[in-house]
């Protein structure tokens, strides 16, 4: 895949990044600009609709899908710092709107323009960071939606391999769910806890300084568990490290 020069990219911030960790959004803007994109943040965006979709409320999910599609109508690409929200837009939107003659084609067109950020940077823009250095050891968790719905595995690793001094360590069960699952983690909190406890143990066994992943929901779940257990592991979104922002506070640290 190759992009047209200086594509016009609409950034979908995601509700978790908007509320909890805005730095991921600014890292996204920085990297997209470095890759040669014109970046805009449409103000009509809210949430991709996953809470409704995962609760079985297809009507509200479809309504939010229409609104999101309309908000990004003029952009060459829609880019998100989340495999989970991107998966929803790429796969669920066309399904939700398949029976709507006015929106079915628009949903398919929107899905074709939508990308998770690490795959967009690597596969579409051919981007690699230049002159980034971080002397640390890190391990990487493959968030499920990105991995299985969008095939994201090599791209974040390729970006991280371009960061000098960063030593990556394998994570046992790197492709096993962390137990977040959106509302699952509060609806079935004891089961979620059992799952994330095993994940935290595996992360601790790597002895890595940093835990990296591509979805803030999973990261909050794992970081919150690691902190509760007293682990010293610092957690960042992959693109924060790639953008050279890991010098600042990690998730749950105050700068």
């Amino acid at each position: 895949m190759s992009a047209k020069p200086n594509p016009r990219v609409g950034l979908f911030v995601t509700c978790l990044v908007d509320a909890i960790r805005p730095g991921i959004g600014f890292a996204a803007i920085q990297l997209l600009k470095e890759a040669g994109c014109r970046v805009e943040v449409p103000q009509a965006q809210t949430c991709c609709g996953q809470p409704a979709l995962n609760s079985g409320d297809d009507k509200d999910a479809a309504d939010l899908a229409r609104r999101t599609i309309a908000a990004f109508e003029g952009h060459d690409y829609v880019v998100l710092p989340s495999g989970s929200c991107a998966g929803t837009m790429v796969h669920a939107y066309p399904e939700l709107l398949a029976g709507d003659p006015e929106w079915a084609a628009r949903a398919r067109d929107f899905a074709a323009r939508t990308h998770e950020i690490t795959s967009f940077l690597v596969d579409v823009m051919g981007y690699r960071p230049q002159g980034r250095r971080l002397d640390a050891t890190a391990t990487y968790h493959d968030s499920c939606a990105g991995l299985r719905e969008l095939g994201i595995a090599a791209q974040p690793r390729a970006l991280l391999a371009s960061v000098e001094g960063l030593e990556m360590r394998g994570l046992e069960g790197n492709d096993v769910c962390c137990g977040f699952g959106g509302t699952f983690c509060v609806k079935y909190s004891s089961i979620s806890n059992a799952i994330v406890t095993e994940k935290a143990e595996a992360v601790e066994r790597t002895g890595a300084d940093l835990l990296l992943s591509g979805d803030l929901g999973c990261l909050m779940n794992m970081a919150g568990k690691l902190h509760r257990r007293g682990a010293k592991t610092r957690c960042f979104h992959t693109i924060e490290v790639v953008a050279g922002r890991a010098g600042g506070p990690a998730i749950g640290e105050e700068g």
Partner: protein, 479 residues
């Protein structure tokens, strides 16, 4: 079936506290996962075989009427008697009637999940017929008075140490030692007399072969052969989705089934039963009955759960499920546990009884990834969630919260206002970066800390930055 008393969450919480259960689950599913991975890696055509397996099942499902009639014709020509059961009650009635008419005192049974589905063990007990489970794992749970917790390893919730204690109490004489070989010998001795004394043997079927009228069972212990051959009467119970057009199609699916279930290439025994004993045969039953069970399957044929009829009952989805691996099979409360069970149980027991099952899933997609017939399990679980929402089975608090959220999410200005207030309110509960306890979010903070929001939302900071730059350069703002 013996309907569970408490709700799913209570059962799951009880199982989560059971440390021995976790050891048992990790041993069995961990082994299964490793062996399957090796078997799939050693079978380069696996993906092609998977696509073919799916195509075979889809073809049969699309022409079920045709193949059912073909099977009945050929099975009848081979001397078997074919019975049709619309639901579990009809199936139970047919089977107990055959047993009672034959004046059966003792029935041996080879492992069959369909038998569990239709409540056969209880029906036989109610009819005053002694039932002996001949599969080693089924023997264990019969002694323990339990139900299967896995569709391939029914006793996987018990460690071998627990089984040793059970056998010591139940076997006469008790096994001389606790090692697996001695325990197996002991079970074998217990069962041998029953095999030869049984009046009726009941088995399931992995495949029903339409063009020969044969039924096929795969086992590793040989107990199915000893259950189906010595007794005067052999009864096969099978769901109507078990049909395949021919023996070759059965083998195409066997290559997927065995690798996905145990990581083996073949089971120890693969047996085709075609009619009762014929003149000149050395052994075999005098009568063979085949009970074809619908029990909700034709209903699935017509709705969005149709792909579930492809299922060949390998258990790979539960072996790879993070939820199953924490809570085990009994917590699900139905006949079938794990992802496939979470799709099937609402069909069999009703959604109102089982609405937790499709929700107790993280949607991580690993089950669909390993399914040998490409069943989109997360999609089907989501379809149950949609029905549950539509039928208003979701708790009122969930509906209200989601309604409020959706109202805001439709109005960007309101959503931003809500986010701005929300993050500021959240900050009040935390200190030094983390929130350790939060009202209304106890599900989160009971087990993990919540990162404290940084104070201003992305949108606030972004717009402030845009406005600042607009003041400087004017034109930059809209870029």
């Amino acid at each position: 079936m013996n309907a569970p008393q408490q709700g799913f969450k209570e059962r799951a919480d009880a199982e989560l506290k059971n440390a021995v259960l976790k050891i048992a689950i990790d041993r069995t599913t961990g082994n299964a996962e490793r062996k399957r991975a090796v078997a799939v890696a050693a079978f380069p055509e696996f993906q092609a075989a998977r696509a073919r397996g799916r195509a075979i099942k889809d073809h049969v499902i699309a022409h079920l009427d045709h193949y059912l009639e073909m099977f009945e014709r050929n099975a009848t020509a081979a001397g078997a008697q074919v019975h049709w059961a619309a639901d579990d009650a009809e199936a139970r009635a047919i089977i107990t009637r055959i047993c009672l008419e034959a004046d059966a005192k003792l029935v041996t049974r080879a492992k069959s999940m369909l038998g569990e589905e239709i409540g056969l063990p209880h029906a036989l007990a109610d009819a005053g017929i002694e039932r002996v489970e001949t599969d080693l794992a089924e023997h264990i749970i019969q002694l323990a008075g339990e139900r299967p917790s896995h569709i391939v390893w029914p006793a996987m919730h018990r460690t071998r140490e627990q089984v040793a204690i059970l056998f010591k109490e139940a076997h006469h004489p008790p096994p001389a030692a606790d090692d697996p070989a001695t325990m197996v010998q002991s079970a074998r001795r217990e069962l041998r007399a029953k095999f030869l004394g049984a009046d009726v043997g009941i088995s399931g079927a992995n495949f029903l072969v339409a063009d020969t009228g044969a039924t096929c069972t795969v086992t590793n212990e040989g107990n199915a052969e000893l259950t189906t051959t010595p007794p005067r009467i052999h009864i096969v119970t099978a769901g109507i989705e078990k049909l395949v057009p021919s023996t070759a199609h059965a083998f195409a699916l066997l290559r997927l089934l065995v690798r996905s279930a145990t990581g083996g290439e073949m089971t120890q025994y693969t047996t085709f039963h075609c009619g009762p004993k014929r003149p000149g045969d050395a052994d075999g039953p005098e009568e063979m009955h085949i009970v074809l069970v619908d029990n909700g399957r034709t209903r699935m044929l017509a709705d969005e759960f149709r792909p579930m009829l492809r299922c060949i009952r390998c258990g790979a989805c539960m072996n790879h499920c993070v939820v199953y691996r924490q809570i085990g099979g009994h917590a699900y409360g139905g006949t079938y546990p794990g992802p496939m069970g979470a799709v099937l149980t609402p069909v069999l027991d009703g959604l109102a009884q089982s609405r937790d099952l499709p929700h107790a899933c993280t949607m991580n997609g690993r089950c669909a990834e390993v399914c040998p017939v490409e069943i989109p399990l997360p999609t089907l679980l989501r379809a149950w969630r949609t029905r549950s929402w539509r039928e208003r089975l979701e708790p009122r608090s969930v509906r209200a919260a989601l309604g409020l959220w959706a109202m805001a999410a439709r109005r960007p200005w309101l959503y931003r206002l809500g986010s701005r207030i929300g993050v500021r309110a959240l900050r009040l509960f935390g200190r030094r970066g983390w929130i350790g306890s939060l009202p209304l979010a106890g599900g989160w903070t009971a087990y993990r800390d919540l990162p404290r929001p940084s104070g201003r939302t992305f949108m606030e900071q972004y717009r402030a930055g845009q406005a600042g730059r607009a003041g400087q350069t004017g034109r930059e703002a809209r870029k």
